[in-house]
Symmetry: C2
Subunit: 232 residues, 2 copies
DNA sequence: AACACAATACTCACACTGTCCAGATGGTCG
DNA sequence: CGACCATCTGGACAGTGTGAGTATTGTGTT
């Protein structure tokens, strides 16, 4: 199905087996999740012997890792398309808040729209030596932005608009990421019976709480260390 | 290893194979996650033939589902123990906020302390017909409270203390649950390189943002529907 | 108390998986 | 043209979930 001509140099038998394997893996992962990307099935889809994959990937988890990276790029692309369609309010602060909300909404929307790819990208399988974060760039191997950059951009805009202190950017990253990632995994794993409307209101409510908590004018309390120290 | 005498009536060959299978599955899941609870390995640990399990569970996923339910009970027990050790401030409102924070901290702490059981409880495997939420009670089959009840209790205390409007309880559940579940899955799947100190500060920061967003005095904005309607 | 029944556990079997090892194939370069 | 070497193929092995049929054993009935 998917044909890719070699970029660097002409390869030997197949054309570009490595890319074809990844593409087939993405297709398998799209409907079926990471559990569905099976080595023999991937090889069967491409039309080669099962062991041919071992020339390009040392193990199945390595192939899954490549598929996951590709899925993260796809997620970034989808989030970018979502954000391009957002109409921002005129007020600068409200525009920054809207942008953060829409970044989060795009994150959760992708998880719901492409659960198989989302699960593959976020690697629920701890068997792999995946260790996400090894690639430090802002874009993947196909030049597509990573999902994280949208969140950082949103928080930077909040800082510019005066709604967020620069020193709070780091903790804001964790709080925002946790909120949207938590919503996504909850919808997929824990609350599959929710309707689209219920999901949408839950997204809006959680993001409202997040924005309200982040853009509070007073300084954030620093009681966490004291509380955690008096435990256990 | 684990011996359980039958409660209701003496069983036939093994004693209580069903309970023994679940117990062995919990042990397997504790170190190794849901992927490690393998039917033949469970049967091997108990000392019976592999297919003996099919007399008590129609499929392996059914056994995993029972193990997951047991893991959720274990999680509730651990959270209760954590909360019993919390020293609450005298002020009523601050005590309610502290309680919510500690509920969240207990949730994430269990995920980090027992990643295998947490992953099994929260079922990253969509293959099963698990559908959590079928059991509507507040306690599991062993009388242990479910994790969700602690969150509901915390929000009820916030309402009593006047820090949260009763009408906002529903959305507060989603926001709180998403925050702590997101932190947990992020720590396990996306940020395994974080140290315990970094995890602790991230937990404190995210919970501070959550509490600040929930207990804001003004009414929450209801702009989510309008924004989401202008998209796509 | 002895027997029949049904619940329980076991044996055999099949299709499928990931991965190793040796051999065939065919581009690339001296 | 011939040698090399990356690439792909075939066979094989251990291990998995699950189905069908069979042996075993506790329990209720006569």
């Amino acid at each position: 199905m998917v044909e890719k001509r070699p970029r660097t140099r002409a390869t030997y038998h197949h054309g570009d087996l490595r890319a074809a394997l990844i593409a087939a893996g993405v297709t398998l992962a799209r409907d079926g999740g990471p559990h569905a990307v099976v080595l023999r099935e991937v090889a069967r889809a491409v039309g080669v012997a099962p062991n041919s994959a071992y020339g390009h990937f040392p193990t199945l988890t390595a192939l899954k890792s490549a598929v996951a990276q590709r899925a993260r790029g796809d997620m970034g692309q989808a989030m970018g398309a979502h954000l391009d369609a957002v109409e921002e309010p005129a007020d600068r602060a409200e525009a920054a808040k809207t942008y953060l909300r829409e970044v989060g909404r795009a994150y959760v929307h992708y998880a719901v729209a492409e659960p198989g790819l989302f699960r593959t990208a976020m690697g629920g399988d701890p068997t792999g030596i995946t260790v996400p974060g090894t690639s430090t760039g802002d874009r993947d191997d196909q030049g597509r932005p990573k999902p994280k950059v949208f969140l950082e951009r949103a928080l930077a805009r909040l800082v510019e608009a005066g709604c967020l202190r620069p020193a709070d950017t780091g903790r804001a990253v964790m709080a925002s990421w946790a909120a949207v990632h938590g919503l996504s995994t909850m919808f997929l794993d824990l609350l599959p019976q929710l309707t689209a409307e219920e999901q949408e209101t839950a997204i809006g409510d959680a993001l409202d709480v997040l924005v309200a908590g982040l853009t509070r004018t007073g300084q954030a309390p620093r009681s966490s260390a004291a509380i955690s120290g008096s435990l256990k």
